[in-house]
């Protein structure tokens, strides 16, 4: 599924150095599990996002491996430490080889 995928991220624009901030991410994706069958009984092929990562200035915050048991429109909430000003980079990896990226800048002060 390469169309209609829209990542959404909620992260603070400002933080104090060393602060722990909560980040919420959501990406629109149907996450076809590969378990369902269509009306004629054929299995609908699996099509999911299989990996999600978040990095801050190149250092890893969280790395998630997703299985088909993750719901439609995968949602994640987690905490990140912001040591200095920089960019949060979010990456989603689709089964079909597509990579979706989103970047959020965080200022310190």
């Amino acid at each position: 599924m390469a169309s209609g995928v829209k990542p959404r991220v909620k992260a603070p624009k400002k933080a104090s150095a060393g602060e722990v901030v909560t980040i919420k991410t959501l990406i629109s994706h149907k996450m076809e599990s590969g378990q369902r069958k269509d009306s004629s009984g054929n299995v609908i092929p699996r099509s999911i996002i299989n990996r999600f990562t978040c990095d801050f200035n190149g250092e890893n915050v969280i790395d998630v491996v997703l299985a088909p048991a993750i719901s439609t429109n995968p949602y994640f909430e987690f905490d990140a430490t912001i040591p200095e000003a920089g960019d949060l980079k979010f990456t989603w990896y689709d089964d079909d080889g597509d990579v979706y990226e989103e970047t959020k800048s965080v200022a310190v002060g």
């Binding site: 092929p45 990996r51 088909p68």
Partner: protein, 144 residues
Amino acid sequence: MDFTRRDTLALGAGAAAMALLPLRAVAQADPNAEVVGAPDEFLAGADAGAGDLTLTAPEIAENGNTVPISVDAPGAVEVRVYALGNPTPGVATFRFGPLAGSQAASTRIRLAGTQDVQAIAKMADGSYQTAMKTVKVTIGGCGG
């Protein structure tokens, strides 16, 4: 809605094309993608005891398609979540990097029916902790 002869023909052709689709859509899961696997594979014979690991899940989930869960495992490097009654038990693997603010994460998962959800955390010292929670599901979330 009225169907004209032309509409009916177009519909028929569309349905025939759809029926052929699964045969061509062999482009399946990325073979390089990591899988979550089963609890035994992760533990590899090691014992998992109770610890600071907490798994939060609702007692009753009306809709098995989106069951909110969260894990909190202070000091863990990796947490895996399993739905033991699903067709494939693996749900997710969370790895916490050096900038993780806490070893906690929330997401939403699918449950095929009433079952146990298990979380296993691998701690920084190589030991394992586990937590289990039973979730009652009113409507299953894996399709039939």
